[in-house]
Symmetry: C2
């Protein structure tokens, strides 16, 4: 039997689109939340819009918040996006594309909206295999946010809702996620992963996110349908 409602954090990438497709199978009404946060790759917002439309979600809210006021990341500040890094290095060091406290900010807004629409189930497409370096993608962090949510809000305190942060991709590799996405019928040509796209929207092919995406497609034995310009 389907559950009632869920909120999905939707970035426009493969992971969150897959999360959304998984939630749509389990819930009658799905609410999507996307952030225009001053990210270098704001093209992903248009992708998120098309993906949400494709799934006929109940509501898609695009929050405008300006993390450039805070900066400190290659995605929100005047810091170059690293090119052609080795995968081993990605695992070892938290990269400059890490945005300080981003998932905490995103989940906080999801929590606020969830409280207003009285939804306990929140989905986030974090996965700890390919990007184990990001602190706010790990299971211990997610568990702690879930505990916080149940202390932070009126509807949890009053017993109306119990918050659960769902992370259905947490143990999947990028290849696993791509296979799942295809099984669920997601049009992957609508997704965007690149941190540093060209003005025409084509992916750079050399940032960490492109490298992981391309590796994922390769391991999944399928072809990535998006355009790459392979920046020098």
């Amino acid at each position: 039997m389907k559950n009632q409602k869920a909120i999905i954090l939707l970035s426009g990438g493969i992971d969150s689109a897959t999360c959304l497709a998984m939630a749509v199978k389990q819930y009658f009404q799905v609410y999507c939340l996307t952030f225009n946060y001053g990210q270098r790759h704001s093209i992903e917002i248009e992708c998120a819009r098309k993906i949400a439309q494709g799934f006929a979600v109940k509501e898609h809210k695009i929050m405008h918040i300006n993390l450039r006021q805070i900066g400190g990341s290659a995605l929100t500040d005047e810091i170059p996006v690293p090119h052609n890094r080795e995968l081993l290095l990605m695992h070892k060091n938290i990269p400059v594309t890490y945005v300080p406290a981003r998932n905490t900010i995103f989940l906080s807004y999801a929590l606020a909206w969830a409280e207003v629409v009285q939804i306990g189930d929140i989905f986030i497409g974090v996965n700890a295999v390919d990007f184990s370096g990001y602190p706010d993608c790990r299971p211990a962090y997610i568990k702690k946010f879930e505990e916080l949510a149940n202390l932070a809000t009126k509807i949890a305190i009053e017993g109306i809702v119990r918050f659960v942060i769902h992370t259905p991709l947490i143990k999947l590799t990028k290849a696993d996620i791509i296979k799942t996405a295809k099984t669920l019928g997601i049009d992957l040509s609508l997704t965007h992963s690149c941190y540093d796209p060209s003005p025409d929207g084509s992916a750079c092919g050399v940032c960490d996110s492109c490298l992981l995406r391309l590796k994922g497609f390769s391991e999944a034995g399928s072809k990535d349908p998006i355009l790459y310009c392979y920046k020098k």
Copy 2:
């Protein structure tokens, strides 16, 4: 000996101004963070600016975020602010002036900024005595956010900083806070507490926040220097 740096959430009310004054005594450099979040009483932002200037803080950041996109509170939505409620009632029920997940959102931004400027000490002027109804003002919530902060961020994971959420007012009544504020030389005429001010900026005198403020001044045996219009 003074510590190095701290971040203070500054709303423009008595509590956060007192928090700021306390921090200024303990830290060399104080960074203030204020939110223009679409609040009905946005006049408090100007108060915050004057208070921060008075203390010659190192930096005062005013974040523009629009919680009206989420709504669900008398402060951010088309819900009337309750007038002349009994204090007993304020303690029993979480009022409609509660803004869903507000402190979680505010603390998340403080955490993001703290990470960029590498500051571990974050001050928030919550107090659990007079407004025990708000879930995100209680000690258990604050402790949980502190735990989250130390899992959520690169600088905590790498051992560069340990986050501490300071709540120096948590056990004080409003009267205690007012006495402390006066001892610390805060110009309380610069502070603003009213949820529903008149266009001329005078306080309504009848919302929960005004009632608690007036009761606090009365119990502290002093006169509130701000203007009231006492709305009908």
